[in-house]
């Protein structure tokens, strides 16, 4: 099957700054694909190259197999939900949503009918006559979604669309977005710096750092088997053990990543790794211990209950399979 979006050795430079550095990737038809990375990692630039707002300085961008490298935005079968929503302030909600049909010459009755359908789809029926300024952040978000979907694009681009929402709303919108994607069956390319968001929503995640792809895979692959140190550190809470520490604690001679929730903590006994509790953080759903495991090694341990206080002597154990080897350098 032809990829919905493909990057073939794409770079993008802004003057001397290389924002995207020889990236190749494939987004499959119909999947929820997330570009994850810290700010300045090149993920938004990649999204803008799919949308046509930015042209690569080398390489090719293919959309459904056709070369779209230098095609303008209005000739691409791709629509975008912008980070600031970019609703037209001088138009009401209905005209905003119908804009894509209006510029294509669809008649007024037909485009208003379809705009109202889209309002139903995003659970905002009856608010067509309101102005964007009268809407809450979450409502603007829905209008932006409806506006981007009305042209029935084959790929929808979402640039940190949940970034401006408060936590509760963000969580419910995550569920809703995912459901919407299943309902409309359109390929979603989603940009975020929030690893939890990326893991919970995506079919596949592509992790970016400094303009390059670190790893592409399912959320489970990214979380359980990080391909690089950067991914191990950026996604989830983990302990990266290297060199002598890895040898001593895990019995292997390469760097290993050990997730904080895979470590069991119990009162001091024979066997396992002895340690002293250095700090206890209460995080609501769980407790995080910072344990001094000797030789200056500090391990993060997530536990369900608060059983130990600072200074407690404990023993740490973990199954051998919990240690994931992390390659020394990016392949």
């Amino acid at each position: 099957m032809v990829a919905a979006v493909a990057f073939d050795d794409v770079s993008c430079a802004f003057g001397p700054v290389l924002a995207v550095d020889r990236v190749s990737l494939e987004v499959r038809e119909g999947e929820f694909f997330t570009l994850l990375g810290p700010s300045g990692s090149g993920k938004t630039t990649c999204l803008r190259m799919i949308g046509g707002f930015q042209f690569p300085t080398r390489g090719r961008v293919l959309i459904h197999g056709a070369d779209a490298t230098r095609r303008p935005p209005y000739e691409r079968d791709v629509n975008t939900v912008f980070q600031d929503y970019a609703l037209f302030p001088h138009m009401n909600v209905r005209d905003n949503i119908a804009y894509g049909l209006m510029v294509r010459g669809v008649g007024k009755a037909e485009r208003y009918r379809r705009a109202d359908e889209m309002l139903e789809l995003v659970h905002l029926p009856g608010s067509g006559a309101r102005r964007p300024a009268e809407l809450s952040g979450g409502q603007r978000q829905r209008v932006a979604l409806a506006r981007a979907l009305i042209n029935r694009p084959r790929v929808l681009l979402l640039d940190e669309p949940l970034g401006a929402l408060d936590l509760k709303l963000r969580e419910s919108m995550q569920v809703e977005l995912k459901a919407l994607q299943r309902q409309v069956g359109i390929t979603f390319v989603f940009v975020t710096h929030d690893q939890q968001e990326a893991l919970s929503m995506s079919d596949r995640v592509c992790v970016f750092d400094r303009g390059r792809v670190e790893q592409t895979g399912t959320p489970e692959e990214i979380y359980d088997r990080p391909a690089t140190r950067f991914v191990a550190g950026f996604v989830g809470t983990g302990n990266l053990l290297e060199g002598a520490q890895a040898q001593r604690l895990a019995g292997v001679d390469s760097a290993v990543m050990l997730r904080a929730e895979r470590i069991a903590i119990e009162p001091r006994r024979a066997g396992g790794v002895p340690g002293v509790v250095k700090e206890v953080e209460y995080l609501g759903a769980f407790i995080r211990y910072i344990v001094d495991a000797g030789d200056g090694v500090e391990l993060l341990v997530n536990a369900a209950r608060r059983e130990f206080e600072r200074g407690a002597e404990v023993t740490l154990t973990w199954p051998e399979a919990a240690c994931h080897r992390v390659p020394e350098a990016r392949a």
Binding site: G51, G52, F53, P72, P73, Y74, V78, N79, T80, F82, Q83, D84, Y85, A86, L87, F88, P89, H90, Y99, G100, M102, V103, R104, R131, P132, A133, E134, R147, A148, N151
Partner: protein, 271 residues
């Protein structure tokens, strides 16, 4: 919001404010008064008698009508020119980055900082050297040099406040550059262009200095008034014209006030 304070201002402050207002507006009242004076050689106070005959006299004088007509024509054409060129310049300079952008921007706003007399002399010698005959279009071009600036400044300020992603969103939804200009950029510039256009019209309508250098035999209204004051002949006619102009000026001022009244609320939602 706090309610207005009552009796908060001190007496000297009130007196000072009233004196300031009087200084600004009482001379206007004298203009009105002398439009009705029966003495037509000098401005005697108090006027020896009051009459409305000067309104009839002014109505009958063809030079008044010619001056008003020329001024309106010049101001209209200048404003139209300034709106088109000023908007285009603002669109070109607001967002894009190119070599020499700052220099172009400076050159564009320079005419408003330049003393009118310098602009006037410069244009006059330029017209003279290129053998362009003085007339309607030389006046228009002279006025346009500074009218473009006020439109440009208004438009550029508005464009800087509108989110650049609006343009991208429009293109993303399938609109080409022309449709984006028509449906997104111009509507969001609307009131800025209205304000800029009115200011440009007003600047052109009462311009004296540059006009003195760039006009040929024609007299615009301000020049006509100046000439009337120097050569006394039916002096109150000048005042009558002034009164009529003041009255007419209220129409666009009120119109602008009502058209832009909802603006502050609407712009609150802009990102």
């Amino acid at each position: 919001m706090r309610s207005e304070r009552r009796g908060g201002a001190s007496r000297p402050l009130i007196a000072g404010a009233l004196a300031g207002m009087a200084f600004l507006h009482v001379p206007m009242l004298f203009i009105f008064l002398y439009a009705f004076s029966s003495e037509d050689q000098t401005y005697l106070f108090p006027p020896p008698g009051l009459t409305t005959k000067w309104f009839g006299v002014a109505w009958e004088r063809p030079d008044v009508w010619q001056a008003i007509r020329l001024s309106l024509e010049v101001a209209t054409v200048t404003t139209a020119l300034a709106l088109v060129l000023g908007t285009l310049a603002a669109l070109a300079l607001a967002r894009t980055r190119f070599f020499g952008r700052e220099a172009v921007s400076l050159l564009l706003v320079l005419p408003i900082a330049l003393p009118g007399i310098v602009t006037g002399i410069a244009l006059r010698s330029a017209y003279g050297l290129s053998g362009i005959p003085f007339g309607f279009w030389t006046i228009v071009v002279g006025h346009a040099t500074f009218c473009i600036v006020v439109v440009y400044n208004n438009a550029v300020a508005r464009l800087r406040r509108t989110s650049p992603s609006l343009v991208e969103a429009s293109m993303d939804l399938g609109a080409d550059a022309f449709q984006t200009l028509r449906y997104v950029l111009l509507p969001s510039l609307g009131t800025a262009l209205l304000a800029g256009g009115m200011l440009a019209f007003a600047l052109s309508f009462d311009e004296v200095i540059v006009t003195t250098f760039t006009a040929g035999q024609q007299t615009t209204l301000p020049i006509w008034m100046l000439q009337e004051l120097v050569r006394p002949r039916q002096r109150p006619v000048t005042n009558v014209v002034a009164v009529v102009i003041v009255a007419l000026t209220f129409i666009p001022i009120l119109a602008a006030y009502y058209l832009t009244r909802g603006e502050e609320h609407a712009s609150g939602g802009r990102l």
